[in-house]
C-alpha cells in the first residue's frame, strides 16, 4: 500500500485504527526528579490568557510552559553527551521520515508487577523473539510494563534511594542497537532507563547507547497494552525546536482494524 490516499481511506473506514499512546499534559503529571541542586525539567504549566472575559471577550486561550522532557516526550540523540557530536542529532534536524516506524512491543507487565526493579535482559528479548519473530531493523522497541496505569505515587516509584521503576540492562540496549539496529526505545515510565539505572554501568544505558548511536527515546507512553507484539506503526514527530534535545509530542500507533 504505497498510496497515501488509500492509507487515509483505511483510517476512515477503520481498517487501520489509531491508538493514542500519549499522556494528557497536566500540571500534576510527574516529571523527572533530579537531586535539587541540579537544574530541573519544568513541569507542564498552563496560564489562561483569556476566557471570554475582560481579558478577551470572545475567545479562550492559554500560554503553556514546560521542559523538552515533560509528559509524553521524545528524546533526540543530542540529549545525551554520548550523542552530542552526531550529525542531525537534534529534533529540528532529524530526517522526518524517521518519525514513522513499526514497533515491537515487549510485554513484561507481569514481571514488572512482581518487581518494580525488573530489568529487561537479552535473554528476555530472545525469548520474546522466539515467540514473535526477530525484531526488524528500524523498528521501535516499546517496553510494555502497564506502568501508565498506576496512580501517581506508584507511577513515580520514589523511595529514599530514588525511583524504582523497570528498565533495560546495559547489555540489552547495546544488543538492540548493534544486533537489531532499532530505531529507538520507548517506555511507559518517566525515563527510558530503569529507576535505579544510575547504578548501572554505564549509568543510564538506554540514554548512553541509544543516543550514542543516533537512536531515539520515547517515554511516558500509555496504552501499550492495546498494541499487538508486532504490526503497529508508530507516528512520533517531535516539535521542531531549534537544536532541541527532545520534545513533548503526540504519539500515535496505527494498528490493523477489524472493519472492512
Amino acid at each position: 500500500m504505497t498510496d497515501p490516499l488509500a492509507f487515509a481511506r483505511a483510517i476512515a473506514t477503520g481498517a487501520v485504527r489509531v491508538i493514542d499512546l500519549t499522556q494528557t499534559l497536566a500540571p500534576d503529571f510527574p516529571t523527572i526528579a533530579l537531586p535539587p541542586e541540579f537544574g530541573q525539567c519544568a513541569p507542564f504549566r498552563l496560564e489562561e490568557i483569556s476566557r471570554y472575559d475582560t481579558r478577551g471577550p470572545a475567545w479562550y486561550w492559554n500560554n503553556f510552559s514546560m521542559g523538552e522532557h515533560t509528559g509524553t516526550h521524545f528524546d533526540a540523540p543530542i540529549h545525551w553527551v554520548s550523542g552530542k557530536d552526531l550529525p542531525n542529532n537534534a529534533v529540528d534536524t532529524i530526517d522526518p521520515a524517521k518519525f514513522i516506524a513499526p514497533a515491537a512491543v515487549i510485554d513484561c507487565s507481569t514481571e514488572s508487577a512482581r518487581d518494580a526493579d525488573f530489568v529487561l535482559t537479552v535473554a528476555f528479548v530472545e525469548a520474546w523473539e522466539a515467540r514473535h519473530g526477530k525484531i526488524e531493523p528500524g523498528n521501535w522497541v516499546l517496553l510494555r510494563t502497564d506502568w501508565s496505569k498506576k496512580p501517581p505515587n506508584a507511577y513515580a516509584g520514589m523511595r529514599e534511594d530514588g525511583a524504582h521503576t523497570p528498565g533495560p540492562s546495559p547489555e540489552v540496549v547495546k544488543w538492540l542497537v548493534e544486533q537489531r539496529d532499532v530505531r529507538g526505545f520507548g517506555t511507559e515510565t518517566i525515563g527510558t532507563d530503569a529507576g535505579q539505572a544510575h547504578h548501572f554501568n554505564p549509568p543510564y544505558p538506554a540514554h548512553f547507547y541509544m543516543h550514542g548511536k543516533g537512536r531515539f527515546g520515547l517515554q511516558c507512553l500509555t496504552n501499550l497494552d492495546l498494541l499487538p507484539p508486532k504490526g503497529a506503526v508508530i507516528v512520533a514527530a517531535p516539535l521542531k525546536i531549534k537544536q532541541g534535545s527532545g520534545s513533548p509530542l503526540r504519539v500515535l500507533a496505527l494498528v490493523p482494524g477489524t472493519a472492512s
Binding site: A33, E48, P152, R159
Partner: protein
C-alpha cells in the same frame, strides 16, 4: 479576668456575612511615627531632642521649647487609667457593629495623657500597660492592658479585634514539604487553630517528616502547588472561603549571585516559586479573605509572608535569591494596601539564614524552623505587620537604619 473565648458556632449559611468595616484610618504624616512603632510592636512616642519632653498626640513642634526635632523613641509604657467610659453611640460604622466599646484616659508615668482602647481587665483607677496596635484600618491605636497578665487575657474581644490570634482560626500553610512548613503546622496546631490545612505539591515525591506532619492534630494535608495557577485556584475554590490565615511557607533558596550563575533556569524557578507563587496565592485567596474580614471572631485576618531579611539589602552570596525576596517584599506592600479594606493584615516575618539544608555552609547564628514558627504565632497574637526573627535579621535591620551604604558594602564581604 477575661471570659475564655467560646469556640465559634458553625456559620448559619442563611445569614449574610457581615461586611468588613474599618475605623477611620487617616493619620497625619507625623502620626505615622506611631504606625512604624505599632507595626513592630514597639511603644514609642515623640521625645524632644532638645529639651527631652515626651509629647502626644504627634506634633511638629515641641510644646515646651518649640523644637522641631521630635523623633519617636521607645518609652516606658506604664501608666494609670484615670477615667473610662463605655461608648454606646458612635458615628462610625465599624464601631457601631462592635458597641459597646470601652475607652479611657490614661496618664503615662512618662508624662503624656492619651485616650486608649481598653482591655476588659484594665479598670479605672488601676495601673495599666499601653500597647500600640494597628487597628482594622491599619492605623495605629493605643490599647491599655492590665498591668499584670490575667487569665484568658488574649481572648479579650477588643484585643482580638486588634490582633490576628490563630486560636479557632483556619490556617493554610502553603508548603508542608519544608522543615519550616512542618514547624509552622505544629505551631499553629499548638496555638489552637481550628484546622491547619497544609499544602503539598507533587505528593508522589516522599519527603522527610511526612508521617509526622500528617500526625499533627487538626492538620489536613491538601494538594497545593504554588507554581501551578490551576492548583492554587482549585485549593482556593475548595477552602478559600474558610481560610482565615495564609502562611506562605513555599521556599526556593539557592546560593549564588548574579554574574557567576549560569543561565536563568534557577532564577526562573526562584521567581516562579516565590514571586509568582505569592501572586497566585494573593489572587486566589486575597479576594475571599478581604470579603471575610468582618466575619466574627474567626474572621479572615492575616496573610503571612516569610521573607529573607536580605529582601531589604542584597547579600551577594545569595544574590539572586535576595533579589527575588526583594520583589516579594515589594509585592506584599501592594497587597497590604489591597487587603486593608477587608481588615486583613499582611504580616511580614523577616529571617536571616535558617538552620536548614540550603544554608548548611553558612556559619551560625541561624534560625531554627521551630523558632521561626513561634515568631509567626507571636507576630499574629500581637497583630504586628513586621517582625525580625533572630540575631542576623535584627542586625541587618539595625545596620540598615544607620547606614544603608555601609551595610551594602559589608554584605559584599
Amino acid at each position: 479576668m477575661s471570659k475564655p473565648l467560646p469556640p465559634p458556632k458553625r456559620k448559619n449559611p442563611l445569614r449574610k456575612t457581615p461586611a468588613p468595616l474599618s475605623p477611620q484610618g487617616v493619620r497625619s504624616r507625623t502620626g505615622h511615627g506611631l504606625t512604624a512603632a505599632a507595626a513592630q510592636g514597639r511603644f514609642a512616642l515623640q521625645v524632644c531632642a532638645d529639651c527631652g519632653a515626651i509629647v502626644y498626640p504627634p506634633r511638629d513642634a515641641c510644646p515646651v521649647c518649640l523644637s522641631a526635632r521630635l523623633p519617636f523613641r521607645d518609652i516606658d509604657n506604664t501608666g494609670t487609667l484615670i477615667a473610662e467610659t463605655t461608648v454606646r453611640v458612635s458615628t462610625d460604622s465599624y464601631f457601631r457593629e462592635h458597641l459597646p466599646w470601652r475607652v479611657g484616659t490614661v496618664k503615662l508615668d512618662a508624662g503624656p495623657v492619651l485616650v486608649a482602647h481598653l482591655h476588659e481587665d484594665a479598670r479605672e483607677g488601676a495601673r495599666v500597660r499601653l500597647a500600640l496596635k494597628l487597628d482594622k484600618s491599619g492605623a495605629p491605636v493605643m490599647l491599655a492592658l492590665p498591668a499584670q497578665e490575667t487569665d484568658n487575657m488574649q481572648d479579650d474581644p477588643q484585643l482580638r479585634e486588634l490582633t490576628c490570634d490563630p486560636k479557632f482560626r483556619r490556617v493554610l500553610i502553603t508548603d508542608g514539604r519544608t522543615a519550616v512548613g512542618q514547624a509552622m503546622a505544629k505551631a499553629f496546631s499548638d496555638a489552637g487553630a481550628a484546622i491547619v490545612f497544609v499544602g503539598l505539591a507533587d505528593q508522589w515525591k516522599p519527603f522527610p517528616g511526612m508521617d509526622a506532619l500528617r500526625a499533627i492534630e487538626r492538620v489536613e494535608v491538601v494538594p497545593l502547588d504554588v507554581t501551578d495557577t490551576e492548583s492554587v485556584a482549585e485549593q482556593a475554590q475548595q477552602n478559600g472561603g474558610r481560610v482565615d490565615i495564609v502562611v506562605n511557607t513555599a521556599e526556593y533558596i539557592r546560593a549564588g549571585g548574579i554574574v557567576d550563575r549560569q543561565g536563568l533556569t534557577v532564577a526562573r524557578t526562584e521567581i516562579d516559586v516565590r514571586y509568582l507563587g505569592l501572586l497566585r496565592l494573593a489572587q486566589a485567596f486575597g479576594p475571599a479573605m478581604r470579603a471575610r474580614g468582618g466575619d466574627g471572631i474567626n474572621s479572615a485576618t492575616a496573610f503571612v509572608n516569610l521573607l529573607s531579611v536580605y529582601a531589604l539589602m542584597n547579600w551577594p552570596s545569595y544574590g539572586a535569591y535576595a533579589a527575588v525576596e526583594a520583589a516579594c517584599l515589594s509585592a506584599t506592600q501592594a497587597m497590604r494596601a489591597e487587603l486593608r479594606p477587608g481588615g486583613v493584615k499582611v504580616v511580614n516575618v523577616f529571617f536571616g539564614p535558617l538552620e536548614t539544608e540550603w544554608f548548611e555552609a553558612v556559619p551560625p547564628p541561624k534560625v531554627a524552623p521551630a523558632r521561626l514558627a513561634s515568631a509567626v504565632i507571636d507576630a499574629l497574637r500581637q497583630g504586628l505587620e513586621d517582625m525580625f526573627v533572630g540575631e542576623i535579621a535584627q542586625d541587618v535591620r539595625a545596620r540598615l537604619a544607620v547606614n544603608p551604604k555601609a551595610l551594602e558594602r559589608e554584605l559584599a564581604g
